[in-house]
């Protein structure tokens, strides 16, 4: 078997044989991603209505369904509306602190069967298997959003404790709730946040996966006919909350 040393030294030897095709540099990185990310957010504090408008336009172009709610208290009503339209009621949600609010009672009151994900890992294998079955059987998945990118209508979700990957993946309908603190304008800006999240201080606290989600799952593999909901959700809803979710 090839070892690390052999493998790397072979690459080094070949690299040493050539000066390359032309002089080239990698993309300039933000030296202080935290400062840059804060500047982005500060600027967005004024420009957010334009960004939101663009987000809605692009999100709808990729077949997302956009909703707007005055405050987080109105969200259960919107969710119930989506459930009614799809004639479903089983819902799984991120843990309340990750979502930004505890909506379980309000959802139950509106006739749904909501279930919140545990705040961390489960030690017991049977319990874990049972939970997975529950998520696989759920029809609706309710999550928060870490970034909403206007340029592409993309939702960025980090995995982690209380925010498992499957909530936005297994149910046929994904509902994501966000406010203006998540809004950014471009993919380039998203890069600054990725630089930030993957650095020392945050590294240990976030989960292993960051998902960029741009509309519902789709394929055109049979005769180029666009079909939605191959493996991931068939529907993606984004609920924008006007009043900041976390007070």
């Amino acid at each position: 078997m090839t070892t690390r040393t052999e493998f790397l030294s072979r690459i080094r030897t070949e690299v040493g044989k050539t000066p390359g095709l032309f002089s080239a540099r990698t993309a300039p990185r933000p030296s202080d991603p935290r400062a840059v990310s804060e500047t982005i957010k500060r600027e967005l504090a004024e420009r957010w209505p334009q960004a939101l408008e663009r987000f809605q336009l692009e999100f709808e172009r990729v077949a997302g369904v956009f909703h707007r709610a005055a405050s987080i208290a109105v969200v259960p009503q919107v969710v119930a509306g989506i459930a009614r339209e799809n004639e479903v009621r089983r819902l799984v949600a991120w843990d309340a602190p990750e979502l930004g609010a505890d909506l379980l009672d309000a959802l139950t009151a509106r006739g749904l069967e909501p279930f919140a994900m545990p705040p961390g890992d489960l030690a017991d294998a049977t319990e874990r298997a049972e939970l997975r079955r529950r998520v696989a059987d759920a029809e609706l998945g309710l999550t928060g959003v870490d970034l909403a990118i206007a340029e592409t209508g993309t939702l960025v979700l980090r995995s982690g404790a209380g925010r498992p990957r499957s909530t936005s993946l297994l149910p046929a309908c994904h509902i994501a709730v966000f406010d203006r603190t998540a809004l950014i304008e471009t993919l380039g800006q998203a890069g600054v946040f990725l630089e930030l999240w993957n650095r020392g201080e945050l590294e240990g606290r976030i989960g292993a996966v960051t998902s960029f989600i741009t509309g519902p799952s789709r394929t055109a593999d049979i005769e180029l006919t666009l079909t939605r909901g191959v493996h991931g959700p068939k529907e993606v809803h984004a609920i924008f909350v006007d009043q900041a979710i976390r007070g």
């Binding site: 095709l21 993309a27 990185r29 630089e195 509309g215 593999d221 191959v230 493996h231 991931g232």
Partner: protein
């Protein structure tokens, strides 16, 4: 599968593709559609051209220090609890995956589309070892059921009609289904959902791997990439060593042009950034993460004539615009990677001898280089490859003889002068209306599918003195 059988010469494989009316139609529709979608996406995106230059520069900069970035990638992955493996050959790569499967007692593996795993013929090896491989990309799933190979990098089953897919599902899944893409997709969703939940092993490729953070990046539209990296207890990513990019900032440059080039989308539906195994506190995700770094001929090209082919993002744009690919489709090429870039990659993986015919399956029109998001100069490398094949005496003797004579004649003014009357004499039995439609003996191949212009009664060179 005669059309992909390598014992059949390329011209016969191409010939049978040209005779397949359905294939011709499917290819025209698909490639024309992709070309339009790509053009619209870039028209709407004025920064596109600058980003293409930037992306090209990043690829080159990465190659100039590849050892450093690969080392950084390895360290980052290991720091997060992942394991890195090194494979010089396809056999070695297969062995690594089989060992992991055996050690973890895996019985079933779900796979998201990965050209690297096609390249090393992983499925056959898994099957032989008693592990059931399941392709989960819908197109790949269809061709796996049909025991075929992908015909396009990003649309593997474009050569199949919905009727053929319905028949296939009826036979293999024992379900009667209408020949309706929506319905067929629904059946596949149900079938594959169960597999995702049952499988022990998730196998993926990688569109990129970020050295700075140890992140493997998967781009899909269906969501199978997310399933495969979230549900099974072990995740193995197999990746060509050239896929490394230095930082998240670099990654974003590529993401801005990749989907636009491939399908005309601003971004594919899912871009999944995976950093090692499940973290403490995380409910889901694999317990083990393995990254297999694959050489298979790539490393020696860092300083070789095919260096630029190492920039390739596998977007498929060069296939869609290629007048040869558009006529013959992916199968006729006979190897894992079709189209113009496929010829270069095949030469890289299998050696130049493997493409002695394929190297000529290009009109050198340059459409591929124009479409390529990282502006790979494919035609230049094809010409270089033809020269190498000629010099290595891999080309047929007739061709070598013809080019050898040509070289002598063109290099010497007196020979050139004498050759003209001789050539006029020789062409007399074959030339009609200024064209030579067939030549005899060992040279017939040359004129089987094309005409040669006959030598003019007076060449420009001969006319020159009188023109003055």
């Amino acid at each position: 599968m005669s059309e992909t059988d390598l014992s059949v010469p390329f011209r016969r494989r191409a010939g049978s593709a040209l005779g397949d009316k359905h294939l011709q139609e499917a290819l025209t529709i698909a490639t024309t559609k992709f070309i339009g979608l790509r053009r619209d996406a870039f028209d709407e995106f004025p920064e596109g051209e600058r980003l293409r230059d930037l992306a090209r520069e990043i690829k080159e900069a990465t190659l100039q220090h590849l050892h450093r970035y690969v080392e950084q990638l390895i360290d980052s992955v290991e720091r997060l609890g992942g394991h890195v493996h090194y494979a010089t050959t396809p056999e070695e790569a297969r062995r690594v995956v089989l060992d992991i499967a055996a050690r973890t007692g895996a019985r079933m593996a779900v796979k998201s589309k990965s050209m690297a795993s096609e390249e090393i013929h992983l499925n056959e090896a898994l099957e032989a070892a008693g592990v059931i491989p399941i392709e989960t990309d819908l197109g790949e799933y269809i061709i796996q059921l049909a025991h075929e190979r992908p015909s396009h990098i990003i649309a593997p089953a474009i050569h199949k009609t919905k009727g053929q897919v319905a028949d296939l599902f009826a036979k293999e899944l024992k379900r009667q289904v209408a020949a309706d893409p929506e319905e067929l997709t629904r059946i596949a969703r149900v079938e594959l959902r169960q597999k995702f939940l049952e499988a022990d092993l998730g196998i993926t490729g990688a569109n990129f791997a970020v050295a700075d953070t140890g992140t493997v990046v998967l781009v899909t539209n269906e969501g199978n990439g997310r399933m495969v990296t979230s549900l099974p207890r072990v995740h193995v990513a197999v990746m060509g060593v050239e896929k490394v990019v230095p930082s998240m900032t670099d990654l974003m440059v590529f993401l801005q042009i990749l989907a636009k080039s491939a399908t005309g989308q601003k971004l594919s539906v899912y871009t999944t950034l995976v950093r090692g195994p499940r973290r403490p506190g995380e409910l889901e995700g694999p317990d083990e993460f393995h990254l297999v770094l694959l050489d298979n001929g790539r490393i020696r090209q860092i300083a070789g004539p095919l260096r630029e082919a190492l920039y390739c993002l596998r977007c498929g744009a060069c296939l869609n615009v290629c007048p040869v690919y558009r006529q013959i489709g992916g199968h006729a090429y006979g190897y894992t990677y079709p189209g113009p870039i496929g010829i270069l990659l095949t030469a890289m993986l299998e050696g130049p001898g493997s493409v002695k015919d394929l190297a000529h399956a290009s009109s050198l029109c340059g459409a591929c280089a124009d479409a390529c998001p990282v502006r790979i100069d494919i035609p230049k490398m094809l010409v270089e490859l033809r020269r190498e094949i000629h010099e290595a005496r891999i080309a047929p003797w007739t061709e070598r003889l013809a080019y050898g004579l040509m070289e002598k004649v063109l290099a010497s003014p007196s020979l050139y002068r004498w050759s003209k009357p001789l050539a006029r004499l020789l062409q007399r039995p074959f030339a009609r209306d200024g064209r030579i439609r067939s030549v005899p003996l060992a040279f017939t191949e040359w004129t089987r599918t094309r005409d040669l212009p006959a030598l003019a009664p007076q060449t420009f060179h001969e006319q020159w003195p009188t023109l003055k």
